[in-house]
Symmetry: D3
Subunit: 189 residues, 6 copies
């Protein structure tokens, strides 16, 4: 079970609104490389990791991804805060207002809702860790693309932080995969 | 952000395998009344609750639903544990083995993957709390149906607990809705 | 069975084209709070309402929602009528022309097609009427948002009428729910 | 708008339960050749039919398909009526009970929910009538397959009736298509 | 099995970028009338064609549709080539960059991913050929709409070629359907 | 463009029908690790591979996956051939007959249709090759699971062949990834 700690993993303080950018960033809530997909992937996969270390790593990273969702949501909220309906219309993003008012939803940058089809759990530890390497790489590149869309330092800071975390997760999953491949060769798993 | 506490919200100890029942119970992971849908619904909605009390209630219940997912997953795992491929075939549920091995996935009882289309976030507190009342009621009835499928006390105990939690959440959301309706009438929100 | 009466529930006469607004209004044909979802929800649910009164209410409102679909479609058609391809491109809504020409489709305001995942039928009258209260509230708020997007009185009139109908349906479903809750307490259903 | 007439298009009186067959027949509520898809297809398409005769034909057949939905639903209900949970489990169809109790949902024979992706509206009368010929043929063959699954005359009678209606609709759409092709050649549409 | 021949079915040489048009043309990769849907439809259907001639025709046209996918992809790439992020933003199409960088994906013109729900395979040759007539007509009209969006001759040439191929496929499927209808009347199939 | 060679990549000759197994094997046509997903993934990704060698490898393997689809389809057909409706009903797999007659469709082992959401194309060569490693691993494990379901040597032979091909593709993609990583470090790509 989880307990909630009332603070963001990294403080976010965006001063300039940009609802169009917010619409793009939403993809990290509900798109193919989203934090939601990552959290669900790892927290589900952990059950068939063959060692306690593996289960713990998946649980830890999955739990961290929940905190990333919260960061993404906060970025989106702050980028939209105070935008008038007229401003949303001028930017061609009034559909979010129609559907979710001042709030948001797990969708990609075109507004397509999140689906569990966007990630996979095979139940095999070697396969699943390889899936995770791909997942972290996909998240990394999408963060890089989002960073290309803006030069607002208040937005770049959390995006850069989140990008960096994906790189670290990639390394951690890689280490575990090496360990499991070795164990598999030795018929220990 | 969240921290993980390494224990289930309620201990689960199922001694008799029943993978067919497991397939049905999976719907509370990925179906229309699933704990996953509930967690996402509340943790997203909270941003437009107009009071700190509302934000906190949504966060608390959303966080609890994450623990419910974990309970559902554990029930499914224990009901499947040790089942041979021949047993799965005899019960007509070998598709889960094909797709996810000994693990699982957020699907409904027919194997249809979870979609964010299964829940709604309107961004209006009155509307969203009404949505939550319906969500809790839907979860309650699905738990009652699942309980109709078995008389194994090891399974009935956690299902009954989860059902009971939905009833309590329904009451809590109802109280907040009343408060917000009153505030709305007084033009405070 | 149904017979068709060749008139709109409310006459609609829009003089100024606005295909961008039309794209937004389409969500009431195919989005999460759509008239199509409402019609299907009620016309399916009615089978397990425990009294003739309940079956009749669900049938009546479900049938009315079919008329609302027709109104939404007419609004969308009139808002698009006579728009040239160049005008559609200038407004960023040429995708509807590509996909459906001068006609339309049940999609949300981002163009995502309607899915039955957007509504639920539990088969329990108490649960289903609670679902309906939420459905009517969601439809109401989306109409209010759509009304925020325009000050064209020709569009506001039918949107306001449709919004008002949702409020009335909410009341009717609430009355039936109270009746059923009372009957349930008296073990009559 | 529509008015409801409280009778089935054809009386249905099924005496022997068969919930497994019911699950298959559900596909005509929510599958690729479903009456729901047909109703939505025709009632949406009608707006861009170039003549009053065309608009009327699409409206009439679309309205009739609504009555067919009601027939399908009634068949499914009667085939399931009185089945115990144990009977449903023995037949491998307890998932419907879990999800919808004694009621039903627009799904295909595997339980996949209806989606508007299952039909198309192009906005061109020639194209759309060709789409309709295909739709009617698909519905016909699915009815023939369903009839292959049973020899219960109480079920065969309405299935046969519905199959026959698709043949007639096919002819009517074909006649209109010929007329429109002729008009198109003469540059009248 | 297939072998790849390293050339396009028709050379494509687009000199002027137009990423907004590219987004629209993507629908012929992943939309309801897409080349991908066509290829899958024909290459799957062929197994239940009752004659070698029928199997061969379906295989040939299905294989050609694979070449059409390649043409569509090339058009989209050339229309996007060299566009800066600023240009994409100015045109309101930066979402493709966010999701797929300089590459693309099978989606419709709103960015909704391809689904097999967009086509049907009934397993009956008469029905399936009727489905194909509708498919070719739908593809034809979408090409005509896309041609309405541009007057760039470099884009019009391949779109016009692809449109023309659909007309020819329509004729070929029609001839086979006539043959099969005749054979069916003579009880040969 | 492609040319069709009228032979299977590996001859398949299954003598004993087993439609239940066929339903499971269908997941390699339309499931998350399907040959269809693989073909689409590689044939789309190739456009942003930075070298001719990379483009060629992706094209080759993508083209081979098309041949694998054909092998899967043939296995499914032969496993179903001659099965009566009564046999299908006895095995609980009559839904395929209802939907597709003697033919098939790209679905997973639960009958859920293929969606492009099941694979990803990021447009970055490093990321995409990592995605491919995961894809090949997922396909490998699903083939191993399918092989666990049967001891029919006529079925095991092609499944084993297909599994082996995934291992080889994994190696080829890994080699290219290493090369690209090296080039990236040297700032050549």
């Amino acid at each position: 079970m989880w307990c909630y700690e009332k603070r963001l993993m990294l403080p976010i303080n965006i001063k300039n609104k940009n609802p169009r950018l917010a619409k793009m960033i939403l993809t990290q809530f509900g798109g193919y490389a989203s934090e939601l997909g990552a959290a669900l992937r790892y927290l589900t996969m952990r059950y068939t990791m063959p060692t306690d270390e593996g289960k713990a790593l998946l649980t830890d990273i999955g739990t961290e991804e929940l905190a990333h969702i919260e960061m993404i949501n906060t970025i989106v909220l702050q980028l939209t805060e105070g935008a008038t309906v007229e401003e949303l219309k001028a930017m061609g993003v009034e559909s979010n207002y129609v559907e979710h008012g001042k709030n948001m939803f797990p969708v990609d940058s075109n507004g397509v809702p999140f689906s569990a089809k966007l990630f996979a759990v095979s139940g095999d530890p070697i396969v699943d860790l390889t899936e995770n390497l791909a997942a972290e790489e996909k998240a990394r590149i999408v963060y890089e693309r989002l960073m290309d869309l803006t030069n607002d330092p208040d937005v770049l800071a959390p995006l850069s932080f989140l990008r960096e975390r994906e790189v670290i997760h990639y390394q951690r999953f890689g280490e575990l995969l090496n360990k499991y491949n070795k164990m598999k060769n030795e018929r220990l798993i």
